[in-house]
């Protein structure tokens, strides 16, 4: 049976997405960027800096990465609306805040794989001892 036009379109899209990555992810990312650009200047500067840091240490999977950025945008929009000063949003130690925040998105963090490796190496060592 020949595929209908919708089915053909879907199949075409799947083929293109193999090369480009999902369109849906791109749309979410663009939406997140647009939200950050609507923030007042100081909030925008702060969220960009956090974003940069979190790309290094954050989740490797697109979906959790986007979820993390969207949650971050929620926080900053809310804080801007309430007029909470940046210092009160991220605290005295922004690294500490970023780390606390990152722990909510462990999926695919490279450091996560290293943590697992460490734990299983110690497990093996402890087993050999007995």
């Amino acid at each position: 049976m020949a595929a209908g036009p919708i089915e053909r379109k879907k199949r075409f899209r799947r083929l293109v997405e193999i090369v480009t990555g999902p369109f849906e992810d791109k749309r979410r990312y663009r939406e997140y960027k647009a939200r950050t650009e609507r923030l007042p200047k100081s909030y925008h500067t702060a969220i960009e800096a956090l974003h940069r840091y979190m790309l290094y240490f954050g989740p490797g999977k697109a979906d959790s990465l986007l979820r993390m950025l969207e949650d971050l945008a929620d926080l900053f929009e809310q804080s801007a609306a309430n007029g909470t000063p940046i210092r009160e949003v991220v605290g005295e130690d922004p690294v500490e805040f970023a780390e606390t925040f990152l722990r909510n998105y462990p999926e695919g963090q490279w450091i996560g794989r290293e943590r697992e490796r460490l734990s299983s190496a110690i497990d093996r060592a402890a087993r050999d001892e007995t």
């Binding site: 929620d74 926080l75 809310q78 609306a81 605290g91 805040f97 606390t100 925040f101």
Partner: protein, 109 residues
């Protein structure tokens, strides 16, 4: 607020927030404001928010989006049955810890 209280708060903030939510539903900003009023003046809004994200992920709270006059809709958090259970466990752990510490201070066992 000194460094020491910040460190101690790290381990207990989750229980504190759940205890606040056991009284009534609240949104992030209200919780932070309450903590600041109670003398935890260095607490960051973002730290409380990260914690709320976590307890939501772990299914300890129910979340409702409520429209607000200024800015985006607010997420209102309320404690659910699983959260209540977790809070009870927190209080048991807390009692254990504070009793032992009190014994230490009095130079007992």
């Amino acid at each position: 607020m000194g460094k020491q209280v910040t460190e101690m708060l790290k381990g207990t903030l989750e229980g504190i927030v759940l205890a606040i939510l056991s009284g009534r539903a609240a949104y992030g900003y209200e919780i932070t404001a309450w903590l600041r009023d109670q003398g935890f003046s260095d607490i960051a809004e973002g730290t409380v928010y990260a914690l709320l994200v976590r307890i939501e992920q772990r299914g300890l709270v129910d979340v409702e989006k409520v429209p607000s006059e200024k800015g985006p809709p607010r997420k209102v958090y309320s404690l659910n049955a699983q959260g209540r259970e977790y809070l009870e466990e927190f209080w048991r752990t807390w009692s254990f810890l504070s009793e032992r510490l009190e014994q230490l201070r009095e130079g007992g066992e």
